[in-house]
């Protein structure tokens, strides 16, 4: 079974293309279409589900949009899958950038650059053998904790004083110099 997911938004381009090539593929296809308007004719579909874990487990191949929420969720399952950048967003470029970077780090992601060629990517994915993905450690919570427990550094006041003194010195310097000129 091939499972296609587009998240909570819509990704008509991908849904339409999968629906078009569906009769040619031997596998059964299920699409989660989100809030998209186009309803697939050649495959099973549904809008939302409380949890997609069931489909992740059953599927032999996963296809998703480039939303990092879903990408990291599927990475945790360890399955290989195809990701396509959805350009129909407020900032069209950020999913492209993200997918390029993450597909270099994690070999289980096959980044599909051109949705119209997705059938060739599906063929490629069947032979593809990914290596295990090493998670980048997250120390954000520790960093925040460290930051919260350290008291406000008093450096800032010292720096301010330093700045005031520095500007005062330069001012005095200028006055002295002009005074010296007057004497000459």
């Amino acid at each position: 079974m091939i499972f296609v997911t587009v998240g909570t938004g819509k990704f008509e381009e991908l849904v339409k293309e999968i629906d078009r090539i569906a009769p040619k593929l031997k596998d059964k296809i299920i699409i989660q279409i989100g809030s998209g308007e186009y309803k697939p004719k050649n495959c099973e579909w549904f809008r939302f589900a409380p949890s997609l874990d069931y489909y992740y487990k059953k599927a032999t191949l996963l296809i998703s949009h480039g939303g990092p929420g879903i990408v990291f969720e599927i990475l945790d399952t360890g399955k290989k899958y195809i990701a396509c950048a959805n350009r129909d967003r407020t900032d069209p470029q950020h999913q492209v950038e993200f997918l390029e970077a993450i597909s270099k780090e994690a070999t289980s992601i096959i980044y599909c650059k051109d949705i119209s060629k997705i059938s060739s990517y599906i063929q490629k994915a069947k032979k593809h053998k990914p290596k295990k993905y090493k998670k980048v450690k997250c120390c954000m919570d520790k960093e925040v904790e460290k930051y919260i427990t350290t008291k406000k550094p008093k450096q800032s006041k010292a720096k301010l004083l330093f700045k005031v003194i520095k500007s005062y010195v330069t001012l005095v310097n200028i006055i002295i110099k002009s005074g010296a000129k007057n004497v000459e």
Binding site: P68, F98, A101
Partner: protein
């Protein structure tokens, strides 16, 4: 000892997901208060660690950028933010975008003396986000700015790389 009071600005969708992952990792050491955009209906359900929830008028513009609309959105929202921050009085405020975190952070810092924590979204690999670009100049030594990709350190020299929430 009194728990430090942390205000959390939830965005929507992916922003909320990342923020709540961070809050789950931080645990119950702090007192949390959540700020949510009034247009956002799904975020509140996902909160696991309880805290008071306040709604703020959203200022998100998407593609719309005419000056009159910006002013019409920001003035009521600013008044709204000041009155809620006055009730909360946070020691720290954490945000990661989108648009409604901008004036909230600036007002919290300069009117209420809160210390700011901001992190860039995990999608941002090389390019800055709009809210990140606009809020970065307000960050001094007293505040914490974090990124989730090492490549972003080039564009934010004072930021800290902290790994990825995913």
């Amino acid at each position: 000892m009194v728990k430090p009071h942390v205000a959390i600005v939830l965005g929507s969708g992916g922003h909320t997901r990342q923020m709540l992952r961070l809050v789950d990792n931080l645990g119950k050491k702090y007192k949390y208060t959540y700020l949510i955009a009034d247009t956002d209906k799904t975020s509140e359900k996902h909160i696991k660690i309880r805290g008071k929830v306040y709604k703020i008028k959203d200022t998100r513009l998407k593609t719309d950028t005419s000056l009159i609309k910006i002013i019409l959105k920001y003035i009521p929202s600013t008044i709204n933010v000041i009155s809620t921050l006055n009730k909360i009085r946070p020691n720290f405020i954490i945000a990661c975008g989108p648009a409604m975190c901008l004036h909230t952070l600036v007002l919290a810092k300069y009117l209420f003396g809160a210390r700011l924590i901001f992190f860039e979204s995990w999608v941002r690999v090389k390019s800055k986000s709009i809210s990140g670009r606009q809020i970065y100049p307000f960050f001094t030594d007293n505040d914490l700015f974090m990124v989730q990709w090492k490549t972003l350190l080039k564009s934010y020299p004072c930021a800290k790389f902290v790994g990825r929430l995913g």
